[in-house]
Symmetry: C2
DNA sequence: GCCACAGTTTCGATATTAGAACCGTAAGTT
DNA sequence: AACTTACGGTTCTAATATCGAAACTGTGGC
């Protein structure tokens, strides 16, 4: 173990935590918020909400419009660009081909503690149905094909680290044998997904997946699974 | 004016600013960084870098691998999702059609203080050339078609607010007349772009654009511009 | 055994916090 | 018009976090 034997609870920074919390509040809310709302939600006096705000503004993480309401700003997109940058670059072309070939929304999801977070998505050309799988979408690890696919690749150590937080899906064993996982109506009713794990030594688990309406051509799930494995292997090669 | 007459310089939070700075450093760097590196780049003692790190880790904005190196984490993607969420949703389908129709990388850029930042991108199917226009890419406002397109829509007030920071492009006047802007080899040598402004009252300027290799079919730029205006109008309607 | 490095602890010296008081402006009210 | 209420924004105070630096513990490599 790399950590000390007598590990301490570890204190965290109040100010920084509150600043981040404000960003989280803005991301959760659909639109802009007033300072009063933010201060109240943070459980903090208005004067300190102002200081936090000014700091976030300096870094271009938020902006204020004429009427003083607070918006999330493009600086956040810049920060997000650094998340698994090589994976994003390696996967994007594959996803594009996948989406247009299968006529389904294709995406990359990554292991994110007790959740599974979508990083990049690509939709096919002629879309009518709105996509539900925007980047930044987070759902519990343990639900949905991407999570199951990742579970099937976990090492003993990684598994033990979170076995208390999420139920074991026996589908993981099946997924391990077949090389891909499936789920129906798990995360969002009416939607099914298929996912293949992306495994690169020394890198956190990830998965490439597609979603489709549960009613439609669920005919050859095996073909889709095989195609996804192929894509996963191509991405792995790119990362090698 | 809404601000007090005797406006003060306004203090900002040291801790929060340093925390954000750490995130910026991680986004700038391609790969993971050691704590020692981060501490040095921040100009802080290691012990405080640890505290900042722990806080960021609690919010899932960074992770540490077995060897202790620090990575940007998926939580950042979640925060970025809140940036102009409605614009992103409204534009994505349009971008997809655009990319496949024109066989060019299509994207949305937004006004970001002295810069212009890419928010969403879509590439066409069969891609060989790697795309340079990932989300989160930032280039100076005042260079490139998207920036010029946005300039052509600025109100007097918005313009005065930044006229000292960026040169006036006389192409903006041309862009205003034609309804779209063009640029060749401005941001990246060898790449040209065409952009149309997205104007919605009470919203910061944005633009829809495409990039292509300067050498290729630059034949009918007018047709592309017209198509982009059409797309821009569709997006505006969606936001109405 | 020595060195480098991840990580923690402690403590005087600095930032930051939580209030409340205060200034303007914009919208209602009577 | 004068009165109130509401809101964005700043300034001041003690009380409370956080900083910076050095000392200290494990682990792993040469």
């Amino acid at each position: 173990m790399a950590s000390s034997p007598n590990a301490a609870p570890a204190p965290a920074s109040q100010t920084l935590s509150r600043g981040i919390r404000m960003l989280e509040l803005l991301a959760e809310a659909n639109g802009p918020r007033t300072i009063a709302q933010l201060a109240q939600d943070l459980g903090v006096h208005r004067s300190i909400a102002y200081r936090i705000l000014r700091t976030l503004e300096d870094h271009r993480l938020v902006t204020r419009d004429e009427s003083g309401r607070v918006h999330a700003a493009p600086g956040l997109a810049v920060l997000a660009r650094g998340v698994q940058r090589d994976l994003q670059s390696a996967a994007l072309p594959e996803l594009t081909v996948l989406a247009n070939e299968l006529k389904m929304c294709a995406f990359i999801a990554v292991w994110d503690q007790p959740d599974c977070t979508t990083l990049v998505t690509v939709e096919p050309r002629h879309v009518h149905a709105t996509v539900v799988q925007h980047p930044g979408t987070r759902h519990p690890f343990g639900h949905g094909a991407p999570g199951i696919a990742m579970q099937s690749t976990l090492t003993e150590g990684q598994w033990n680290a979170l076995k208390n937080e999420t139920p074991y899906r026996d589908n993981a064993a099946l997924a391990r044998r077949k090389g891909y996982a499936t789920s129906i109506d798990e995360v969002i009713p009416g939607l099914s997904s298929v996912a293949a794990p992306i495994e690169v030594p020394g890198r956190l688990p990830a998965a490439v997946a597609v979603v489709y309406s549960s009613g439609s051509n669920s005919s050859d799930v095996d073909a889709i699974g095989a195609r996804l494995r192929e894509a996963a292997r191509a991405i792995e090669a790119e990362l090698g």
